[in-house]
Amino acid sequence: MTGLAAVGAGIAVLGAGLGIGRIGGSAMDAIARQPEATSKIQTAMIIAAALIEGVALFGVVVGLLQG
């Protein structure tokens, strides 16, 4: 069962990686278009990334509990 939990945690990380990657990419685009709004975009980006990361960490916690 330990192996399965690790696979599950891996899949959770995969999803979070894709999500945060998209946010980061879009934020880069937005900053390139409007450099004067950098700080606002960064804040919004960090909040969105934190929310996604929170979900991924649920996966990690389940992995820890199972392992």
Partner: protein, 378 residues
């Protein structure tokens, strides 16, 4: 081109590590170990890395400094129990006590002042009349025969919390005094470092998320939460006493921090907030039986996510750093240090960023939730 060079450098480092490792593969880290012990040792140490990590991320009644089970050096912290009166004694009565049982049912029987108590996985239980701990089939303590006590011990995490609170009071009252002395001109001394952070929290976190009119009331909580989480995250990264406790990676600690945000949100919420929960505008009446439970669950999931985010981030950071250092002991060769030390350094520097980021996110989301609860209807 850049990528190619990076790849080349990485391949070179890996190749070097493997070549050096081949030459030293049979040199155990512990040079005193006898030849016939080495094989036995190797198997034992492999298990020990996981055990060491798990031991580190949990709370303990001792502050382990260095060494193994027998020859290690620890600071023994006081144990405070309420069991028909207050009982205070040193935890060395357990750690130097009798090892009883084996495998998953091994525990430490207290000696001296700790007579009649036993420690199992850092939790203290009262022994039964025969002087034993009783286990059920799942290797858990049988609660009917061995009751758990009211344990107010100064554990590792409690001591870390006291130290960080003391440090914080020392630093911040110093800063406050310097404003009293020099006025609100150019900041002096420590306030040069603190002032931009306070302004950042005021302007970018509180004012933006709570609103110009109401942010002032919540500044004390936001500043306290930010500095307290940050200093504890940073102290957790310091490997020696009084740092190194996994305080912000302790679920009880983050539970309390998150419940402060929850309580503050609920008591400062205005009628618009409650109307959105119990009579969401624009939703048909027939849907309300579904909407109300969802909205009520929503009140609790937000601080729950705050709790788990901080806990999991910091715990994961500690586990990664220790795992990377543990590579040396897993492979029983100092040459792996060439790989593990730079990687541990890299993750440590990353954790400095995470320490700030998690304190920032906690404060930011707290401000966001409070802001949503006090927002005027328009």
């Amino acid at each position: 081109m850049m990528l190619k060079n990076t790849f080349k450098a990485f391949a070179f480092i890996i190749a070097t590590v493997f070549t050096v490792n081949l030459g030293l593969a049979n040199t155990p880290v512990d040079s005193h170990a006898n030849a016939h012990e080495t094989e036995h040792h190797a198997e034992k140490e492999k298990v020990d890395v996981t055990e060491m990590i798990m031991h580190h991320i949990k709370d303990a009644h001792e502050w382990h400094l260095w060494g193994g089970h027998e020859n290690g050096v620890s600071v023994y912290l006081p144990i405070i129990l309420i069991d028909g009166g207050l009982k205070v004694f040193s935890s060395s009565n357990f750690y130097h006590g009798e090892h009883v049982g084996h495998g998953e049912e091994s525990y430490l029987k207290g000696t001296g002042a700790a007579q009649g108590y036993a420690m199992f996985h850092e939790k203290i239980y009262k022994l039964d009349a025969r002087g034993n701990l009783n286990f059920n089939e799942e290797h858990h303590i049988n609660r009917e025969l061995n009751s758990k006590l009211l344990d107010f011990s100064i554990t590792k995490n409690v001591l870390a919390l006291i130290v960080s609170a003391f440090l914080l009071i020392l630093i911040l009252t110093g800063v406050a005094k310097s404003y009293k002395k020099h006025g609100f001109g150019a900041p002096k001394g420590m306030s040069r470092f603190i002032e931009p952070i306070v302004l950042f929290i005021r302007d970018d976190i509180a004012r933006d998320n709570i609103g110009e009119k109401k942010y002032k009331k919540f500044m004390p909580y936001l500043l306290t939460a930010f500095f307290f989480i940050w200093i504890n995250n940073l102290l957790g990264l310091v490997p020696i006493i009084p740092g190194g406790a996994n305080l912000t990676g302790n679920i009880s600690f983050t539970l309390i921090m998150a419940s402060f945000t929850l309580i503050l949100t609920l008591i400062s919420a205005n009628k618009h907030y409650w109307r959105h929960i119990f009579a969401t505008p624009g939703v048909p009446k027939a849907l309300l039986p579904i909407m109300i439970p969802v909205e009520i669950i929503g009140i609790f999931t937000k601080p729950f996510a705050l709790m788990v985010r901080l806990f999991a981030n910091i715990t994961a950071g500690h586990i990664i750093i220790l795992s990377l250092v543990g590579i040396i002991f897993t492979f029983q060769s100092a040459a792996w240090g060439a790989l593990s030390v730079p990687m541990a350094l890299f993750i440590s520097v990353l954790e400095l960023l995470v320490a700030f980021l998690q304190a920032f996110i906690f404060t930011m989301l707290s401000a966001l939730f409070i802001g949503a609860a006090v927002a005027e209807h328009h």
